[in-house]
Point group: C2
Chain length 218, copies 2
């Protein structure tokens, strides 16, 4: 059985890989993500390689094997189903479920997880709009169009908010920018690095590019 440490590393490598072209994650970057010193990440990556979960090219980076990827998808499935369950069944706020799921994802059994999946009616996305991998390890890929690069003056639907920090999620909720909401980008100023967004019935909201890049639409 993979320890929760291994599960966390593998999950983070998987997510970091998504943002690269070659799927190679530098060990230093992994260390930053995992909040450990570089040497710790190096030895962990060697261990993952020894156990067949990753391929490790010294001074180059890590990449998950097929097995590592399947494990990562399993952990992500647990994480995201738990997040949705905490919101739907227990009424937690979408800004607090990430932290909770970070622990529970290592403690919940397959048996309980499938009950949760049934309870939720086999959902395809979590409260933040992130896709939930299937039990067989298939995951839809989410929209890549954000408020920072979408068409202007067009009615669009928010599909995903890609930042787990409570303060950010609370702001998005106050601004009416939650998955499912309709929005229109009124104006985008490349020089100022800001967009003016008009959510459903609400007042216009100004977002900097760094924030706008985290809100995806369809």
């Amino acid at each position: 059985m993979a320890s929760s440490t291994v599960e966390n590393y593998v999950k983070r490598i998987f997510l970091a890989q998504q943002t690269t072209a070659d799927g190679l994650v530098p060990v230093g970057q992994l260390a930053t993500i995992m909040n450990v010193v570089p040497g710790t990440a190096t030895s962990m990556v060697k261990a993952l390689s020894d156990s067949g979960l990753a391929e490790y090219a010294p001074r180059t980076g890590v990449r998950l094997t097929r097995g590592g990827e399947q494990l990562a998808l399993h952990v992500l499935r647990r994480h995201r189903l738990l997040e949705l369950f905490l919101v739907k069944a227990l009424g937690l706020d979408w800004s607090e479920v990430h932290t909770e799921a970070e622990e529970l994802e290592h403690a919940v059994s397959d048996r309980v997880l499938e009950r949760i999946d049934d309870f939720l009616g086999h959902p395809s996305v979590d409260p933040h709009g992130d896709p939930i991998p299937s039990a067989r390890g298939k995951m839809a890929e989410p929209s890549a169009v954000s408020l920072a690069d979408c068409e202007v003056k067009k009615r669009l639907r928010v599909s995903r908010v890609a930042d787990q920090q409570p303060a950010f999620l609370q702001l998005m909720e106050r601004s009416g920018l939650i998955p499912g909401a309709l929005v229109r980008v009124e104006n985008r100023d490349e020089v100022a690095g800001a967009v003016v967004v008009v959510p459903g019935g609400d007042d216009p909201v100004v977002l900097g590019f760094s924030a706008a890049r985290k809100v995806f639409v369809e």
Copy 2:
């Protein structure tokens, strides 16, 4: 923060203490309960003593301090609320929830736990009839009268089944001996070490003393 290992030790010491007069648990007994070799239990007990959770008298036994007891009650509260939640909210069988709760009890936060408590309407007992400690660490003491020593030929109510083994719980369920059920002990044969029990509407059931001692009534 106490590790899950520490939480498990403290919980087990607490439960073992309940069965002794002086509240002293021999280290060897603790080792057996925890499925570790005696030396492991000795060093763990020293560590618990160093961190103020227990008092350790070499070659005599361990006893929890007030702090250790409070921790044990907190873990027990988590365990039992989770068991009931798994039964009530997700429809798991009472024979399988113990194993699940054994892991989840270390991963669930106070915030989530109180939501679960609200959802369940602040219950006082878990699916096996074990009392659920309050958030402040108070726990009712359960009935000590079992089918092995209760009054004969009298209508009584099953209040607790004190064995977590799935096979035992499944048998009790098939026999109609679940908390809340009405029963009558038809006959008790001290020599044969067996009791004949008549549950609510069901057929008579014969239990050996070792089994009868695990079913408590009121």
